[in-house]
């Protein structure tokens, strides 16, 4: 489903250039559960951003469902993001002035879906993630775990094929963090591919496939097909 070929990403830092990704090759099948681990600065988040089309590689080709998406315009990329990718962030990134239900609804609103169609979809997801009772609370009235559930519900509302989670437990205590991981694993059980970036070896170890990054390169990949 996702195929990265010789992906490079360099950032200019003053006069010099920092190589965040060097010649990354990665193949991801639909429904896979992959963790990406590595020390900070190893390029995990950059990789995730490129897969999520939030960032463009400096070199290499990225195919999503067979389509080369590296050359798409901003507008086309936003459509791909909207339809195929769900994001979960460490800092939740909920819109503070909108209620939980409205936050979940937001991708549908951006996609131009009518209010009549939106309401049942949002209702079902809130129920699925056990936050129906908090539907009309604003983010600042929710606990960390509840916020991340809202964020995951929002990531799932467009029924993406893959969920990209960047340190989703990084801002949660251990128990709540576990709950969130269980939620993601449940989603994976339903056939959604999950890509989890973490530096917690315990959490990362739960994934069937584990990718380890060092210094912008893939150091080890338990699922890589023999070349």
């Amino acid at each position: 489903m996702i195929r990265l070929e010789h992906i490079h990403r360099t950032f200019p830092v003053g006069e010099a250039e920092v190589q965040a990704l060097r010649d990354v090759n990665l193949d991801l099948q639909a429904g896979e559960y992959v963790s990406i681990m590595g020390p900070s600065g190893s390029g995990k988040s950059t990789l995730l951003n490129i897969i999520g089309l939030l960032d463009r590689p400096t070199g290499g080709v990225y195919r999503l469902d067979g389509q080369d998406v590296t050359g798409l315009s901003d507008r086309q990329q936003s459509q791909v993001r909207r339809e195929k990718v769900g994001f979960v962030f460490q800092f939740f990134h909920l819109v503070p002035r909108l209620s939980a239900a409205e936050n979940v609804e937001l991708p549908l609103v951006l996609a131009g879906i009518s209010p009549e169609e939106r309401a049942p979809l949002v209702g079902r997801l809130l129920e699925e993630f056990g936050i129906t009772g908090r539907a009309h609370h604003r983010p600042d009235q929710l606990s960390g775990g509840e916020r991340q559930r809202v964020a995951i519900a929002r990531a799932m509302v467009m029924r993406p094929a893959v969920v990209l989670a960047d340190e989703p437990t990084g801002n949660l205590d251990q128990t709540t963090g576990k709950e969130v991981i269980h939620l993601l694993e449940e989603l994976n059980g339903k056939g959604v591919a999950v890509l989890l970036v973490t530096h917690d070896p315990e959490l990362g170890g739960r994934a069937r496939r584990q990718v380890r990054m060092v210094d912008g390169r893939i150091h080890s990949d338990t699922g890589a097909k023999p070349a």
Partner: protein, 402 residues
């Protein structure tokens, strides 16, 4: 994205940052409000002048001696003589014109009016019984100048309200003899209290029969002749007739100036309209300031909401949608501000009308419309830059901020 959703999102942003929104509304509405109030003042002045003129009757023609020249020196200077005076006979000659209802010759001077041991220097008007109607004067006590041959001096006078107060106090002046200059006149009437009327304080004057005034001032000429035409549509024809008659009487020379009230009014109208426009233009500077303020605040909003913009992009918002959302926010803000401002402005001009009932301070519709349009246009114009900046944010960088 549906437009109702865009509007709802913009509204949520505005109501989410209440203080910011209120401050911007205040700036915008003050801009619009000041345009409305200032133009209503200008328009009020215009209508005030118009009303004053209309209260004098709109069918008036004034005849002045001398020719208003825009080029060259003093009229007649080349042939070595001063312009011919207007005389009482000129005035009487004008009564022949069929379209003319009344003719009031006018001579004005300053003289001392004395009764017993009190005296006072006042403007003295010499005219005929016709002046009462022509200048829309009213008599409070006694009667006005008697009709009769204007060439005959009669020793009567009509005094203004204030003159009466100062010379006679509470006593009735009717039948008393006052001294004006070196002649004596019997007071036959007191004018109603009226105040200023086109530069002359009616309360302060004394009116004499024109021949008597000419004798007091020892001056055979007239300051002007006021001609009241029967029908408004005959004013133009009557003016030409006045010119013709007086030219004939002055040996074929057109040495007078005939001004219709409409022409004077039109001039005032133009001046005051220009004043209104200037006031509106000055006030619209504050509109531009409000626009720049909106831009400033929207730019701050963009940097404050960087992560939000990154998030919106992550969940599938296109650059166009981001631009639209910020744009809609500014648009809603400026439309609201403009409407509140227009309401405030109308309230302000209402207050002005309450305090100065004589001043019909109504903002002209074009000014209100222009203020609203300018407000909305500047608000939208100045939101383009922030909206574009928001749309261009790199989502990965935007989300990296926490």
């Amino acid at each position: 994205m549906r437009s109702a959703d865009v509007a709802a999102f913009a509204w949520r942003s505005l109501s989410g940052y209440r203080l910011r929104t209120l401050l911007m509304l205040a700036a915008m509405s003050m801009g619009v409000g000041s345009v409305v109030v200032l133009t209503s003042l200008g328009e009020g002045a215009r209508r005030y002048v118009r009303n004053k003129f209309n209260s004098l009757g709109s069918n008036l023609i004034a005849v002045f001696p001398g020719r208003a020249e825009t080029a060259g020196g003093v009229p007649g200077a080349l042939v070595g003589r001063t312009p011919r005076d207007l005389t009482l006979d000129d005035a009487i000659a004008l009564e022949r014109i069929r379209a003319v209802r009344r003719v009031a010759p006018l001579t004005v001077g300053s003289a001392e009016v004395a009764w017993e041991d009190r005296s006072r220097e006042v403007p003295v008007l010499g005219s005929t019984a016709e002046l009462l109607e022509v200048r829309h004067l009213a008599v409070a006590q006694g009667r006005f100048l008697p009709p009769g041959d204007p060439r005959q001096p009669v020793s009567v006078c009509v005094i203004g309200w204030k003159v009466r107060q100062e010379l006679f106090g509470t006593r009735s002046p009717l039948g008393e003899w006052v001294r004006i200059g070196d002649r004596r006149f019997r007071v036959i009437g007191v004018l109603e209290r009226q105040g200023q009327s086109l530069g002359l304080d009616i309360d302060e004057i004394v009116v004499l029969p024109v021949a008597s005034a000419q004798a007091v001032f020892n001056l055979p000429s007239l300051l002007r002749i006021l001609v009241e035409v029967r029908e408004r549509e005959d004013v133009k024809a009557a003016r030409l007739e006045v010119l013709r008659i007086l030219r004939d009487r002055h040996e074929g020379e057109e040495d007078i100036t005939v001004v219709t009230q409409d022409a004077v009014l039109a001039t005032f109208d133009r001046i005051l309209l220009a004043l209104t426009l200037a006031l509106g233009a000055i006030a619209s500077i504050s509109l531009a300031v409000a626009g720049i303020l909106i831009m400033n605040v929207m730019l701050i909003a963009v940097s404050q909401r960087t992560t939000e913009i990154g998030l919106l992009k992550a969940i599938g918002a296109s650059p166009e949608q981001i631009r639209l959302l910020f744009f809609a926010e500014a648009a809603v803000l400026s439309v609201l501000g403009a409407l509140v401002g227009a309401a405030l402005g109308e309230l302000g001009s209402f207050a002005i009308r309450q305090v100065y009932p004589e001043l019909p301070a109504f903002a002209p519709a074009w000014a209100v419309a222009a203020a609203l349009a300018t407000a909305v246009a500047t608000g939208i114009l100045f939101s383009l830059l922030p909206a574009r900046r928001a749309a261009r944010l790199q989502p990965a960088l935007a989300l990296a901020r926490r």
